[in-house]
C-alpha cells in the first residue's frame, strides 16, 4: 500500500472511534508536554546561569600571573615549576610577548588598587580598576547608562551601580531592585576626586621620567645599585560618564571593582601595586611589573592552547573554562534527571497507545479479516496499525509541544510576578529551543511507533478464516 493511502486509511480509522483515540492522543500530548516542560526548565536555568557567566566577559580570557608573586594554582606546578626567584617578571616586555602568541587578541595588565575617592566632599573607599578600551564592545556593558570612555586615557570613570548608590547615599535601602537609569541621572557628568599613592623610582635609576628604556630590572646583587623608590600622594579629578548595572559578585579578576577608569590612564598614574611591596627589586625598576595580565583569546575554544603557551613561558595561567566545566557537568546531570522524569509520563502514555490499538484489533477483527480476504498482505495490515500509532504520535507530539510551551509561559509569568515582588529583574527561566520542539515531536512519534509494534504484529498475524467466522 502506498504511503498516502496508508495515512488516509489510518486517519479515517482513527476518526471512527474518535473519543478513544483522542483520549489516547491526549495522553501522549500530556507526556510530551511534561517532557518539554522539564527539559525547557533545565535549558532555561542553564541559559540563565551561563548568561551571567558570559556577561562577565571572561569566557575567552586567560589570567596570567608571575610565579614570583604567586605560586602555581596546583601542587604539581608548585613542585615542578621553576623556583619563584628564577621565574620571569611579568612586565611590559612579557606582556608584549604574550600578546604576540597565536590566537591572542590582546593582553592587558590588570591594574587595581583600593583608594579614597571624594565625591561632594565625602570620602569613600573603593577598588578602582583599569578597564581596557576594548571592553567597550563587551556584552558586559550592555546594560550601562551613559557612555563608555571617550578615549583611551581621558580622566573619566564608570561606576558600578552599588558604588553609585553609595555616592548618592542610598546605601542600605531595602529596595534591591534599583533602576540604574535613576541612579545615573544625578551622577552623569559630575566629577569626583581620586587620591592615590604614586610610586616613583629612585632618582639613581630615574634617568628619563616615564619613558626609560633600560633593559631589565636592576638586580641588587649585581651592580650595587640600590633598589629604591619613593611613594608620592597624588590626586586626580575624574568625570563620571557611565553607571553600569554589573553585579560585582558575578565578576572575576579585573572586573571585580566598583569604579573603572581607562586602562591607559591607570597605567600612566603609576599607582602603587600590592606587588610593589612584595618584590622591591621589581618595584625599584623603571619598568612597571604587573600583578596579573588578562589575555583575551580569539575564541573560547582557543583558551587551552594559549594557557599552555603562557605556562611554557614560565608564568601561571588560569582561565574560567576550568571553572565552568563543573557547571556544565552539573547541568548535564540536571537535564538528564529532568528528562527522565519528563519521559515517565510519556512512558505511561505509550502504554495507552498499546492498549488502544489492542482494543482496536479486537474491535476490528472482522474488518482485518475482510481486508485480508480481499487481498491485503500481512505487511499492509501491519503498516496500517503502525500508521495509526504514528498519526497519534504526530498529533500527540504537536499538541504536547504546544501544551508544554503554554505551561512554560504560565510558569515564566508566575516566576516573574514573584521576582518582581522580590524586587529582582525579570528573567527568562523557560526556554523552548527549536530543536526541543522538533526533538519532542520526533520522540513522540518514535515512542508511538514502538508502542504500535506489538499490536501491529498481532493484527498482521490474525487468521482471516477465524476472523471471518464470527458473525
Amino acid at each position: 500500500m502506498k504511503g498516502y493511502d496508508l495515512s488516509e486509511l489510518a486517519l479515517r480509522n482513527l476518526r471512527e472511534s474518535v473519543l478513544r483515540n483522542s483520549l489516547t492522543t491526549l495522553g501522549i500530548s500530556v507526556g510530551v508536554a511534561s517532557l518539554v516542560a522539564m527539559l525547557s526548565l533545565g535549558i532555561g536555568l542553564q541559559q540563565l546561569a551561563s548568561r551571567r557567566l558570559e556577561k562577565s566577559g571572561l569566557f575567552d580570557t586567560v589570567v596570567v600571573s608571575s610565579r614570583r608573586d604567586l605560586r602555581g594554582f596546583s601542587r604539581e606546578e608548585e613542585r615542578n615549576g621553576p623556583a619563584p626567584a628564577e621565574s620571569p617578571t611579568l612586565d611590559e616586555s612579557a606582556r608584549q610577548a604574550i600578546e604576540h602568541l597565536p590566537n591572542v587578541r590582546e593582553a592587558y595588565p590588570d591594574i587595581r588598587f583600593v583608594t579614597e575617592l571624594r565625591f561632594q566632599d565625602k570620602p569613600h573607599l573603593s577598588m578602582v580598576a583599569g578597564l581596557p578600551f576594548s571592553a567597550k564592545n563587551n556584552d558586559a556593558f550592555d546594560g550601562m547608562q551613559g557612555s563608555f570612555f571617550s578615549s583611551e586615557s581621558v580622566p573619566e570613570a564608570i561606576l558600578q551601580k552599588s558604588f553609585a548608590e553609595e555616592l548618592l547615599g542610598r546605601r542600605g535601602e531595602e529596595d534591591d531592585n534599583v533602576n540604574v537609569a535613576d541612579l545615573a541621572k544625578p551622577l552623569l557628568g559630575k566629577e569626583f576626586v581620586m587620591r592615590y599613592a604614586q610610586r616613583m623610582a629612585s632618582p639613581a635609576d630615574h634617568v628619563e621620567a616615564g619613558d626609560g628604556k633600560q633593559a631589565g630590572s636592576p638586580q641588587p646583587d649585581e651592580g650595587g645599585q640600590a633598589a629604591a623608590y619613593s611613594v608620592v600622594s597624588k590626586i586626580e579629578t575624574l568625570k563620571i560618564v557611565g553607571v553600569s548595572d554589573l553585579d560585582p559578585d558575578s565578576m572575576r579578576g579585573a572586573a571585580r571593582a566598583r569604579v573603572f577608569i581607562p586602562l591607559r590612564l591607570a597605567q600612566d598614574l603609576h599607582v602603587m601595586q600590592p606587588s610593589d611591596l612584595r618584590d622591591t627589586t621589581v618595584a625599584a625598576g623603571n619598568q612597571p611589573a604587573y600583578t596579573t595580565v588578562s589575555v583575551r583569546v580569539t575564541s573560547p575554544t582557543k583558551v587551552q592552547p594559549v594557557e599552555d603557551a603562557v605556562k611554557k613561558m614560565g608564568f601561571n595561567a588560569f582561565s574560567i573554562v576550568d571553572a565552568t566545566r563543573s557547571v556544565r557537568q552539573f547541568f548535564a546531570v540536571l537535564d538528564l534527571f529532568l528528562g527522565i522524569f519528563g519521559s515517565l509520563a510519556l512512558a505511561v502514555a505509550s502504554i495507552g497507545i498499546v492498549n488502544t490499538l489492542v482494543m482496536a484489533i479486537l474491535e476490528r477483527r472482522r474488518e482485518i479479516g475482510i481486508m485480508k480476504a480481499i487481498g491485503a498482505s500481512d505487511a499492509d495490515v501491519k503498516k496500517l496499525f503502525f500508521a495509526e500509532a504514528g498519526v497519534m504520535g504526530v498529533f500527540g507530539g504537536v499538541a504536547g509541544v504546544t501544551l508544554g510551551w503554554a505551561i512554560g509561559q504560565v510558569i515564566n509569568f508566575g516566576t516573574n510576578v514573584y521576582l518582581k515582588r522580590q524586587h529582582f529583574p525579570p528573567q527568562q527561566v523557560w526556554s523552548v529551543p527549536w530543536w526541543l520542539v522538533a526533538g519532542a515531536i520526533v520522540f513522540a512519534v518514535i515512542v508511538s511507533l514502538l508502542s504500535g509494534l506489538y499490536p501491529a504484529a498481532r493484527a498482521a498475524r490474525l487468521d482471516p478464516v477465524q476472523a471471518l467466522r464470527y458473525e
Binding site: I374, G375, V465, L468, E471
Partner: protein, 259 residues
Amino acid sequence: MTATPDLSSPRNRPTAVLTDNLCRHYHMGETLIRAVDGVSFQIGSGDFVALLGASGSGKSSLLNLIAGLDRPTSGAVIVHGRDLAQLSREDLAKHRLHTVGMVFQSFNLIPSMTLMENVELPMRFAEVDRAKRDALAREALDRVGLAARMAHRPSELSGGEQQRASLARALINRPQLLLADEPTGNLDSRNGTEIMNFIREFNQTLGMTIIMVTHERTLAERYAKRMIFLADGKLTGDQIIGPPNLAGIAGGNAEGERL
C-alpha cells in the same frame, strides 16, 4: 469480452483449479476435525461450478483453500498453475488480490466505509493509481446498478444492494476466478435471483471461472454448469448439468432456454 469458440467446451479449456488429495484437518479440543479430507478434482477455466453439501460438509473450507485464505494440511491446490500450498504468506496475499474475487453470505463490506471506498479498497492494496481508481470504482458500481448509492454506507442499503456492492468489489482487480460462499443465503428470492443473474453474466460475458458454495440444489441446477457434492469433507459426487451455454447468449435468455 466473449469467449472464443474453441474454448466453449470445458474439456478444451485450460485448467483453472486443480486439487489433488487435498486435506485440511484441524483440532478442536481433543477431536480431530477433517474439514476437507482427500478431495481431488479439476475445474476448467470459464466453468461455473456449484459446491454442494450440508452444513459442516467442508465446502466453505474447500473454498477458503482455493481462495488462499487457508493452507492445506496436505495435498495440493493448484490455481492457474501455482500450488498455493507452496506460496509464501506474501504471495498468497497477492493471489487473493489479483487472481480471486470473493463474495460472502454476510457481504463483508467494511461498515465504516462508503460503497465507493469499499470498492476502491482492493485497488489501494494493489497500488492502483489514484486517478484511475476513482473511474474504475464508479464503473464497477454502475455495472451493478449502484451508481446512485456510491456515497452511502453499507448499513444504509438493503441486503441485495450490499451484495451487489460486494460483487463490484470482488471484480475490481479483474480476477479470473470468482469464489462465492452462499451468496444468496441472506437474501430474499427476488434479490437472490438478481445476484445470481449478475454472477452468470460475469461467467458468460467475462469468461470468469465461478465456484459457488451453496446448499440449495435448485439454485445450483438453475445456474451452474457442474455440481460437486461434498459430505464430511469427502467428494461424493460430480455432475455436469446439460451442455454449456454458448457464448454471446444473454443471461436472461439462457435462463429461459433452460426452463
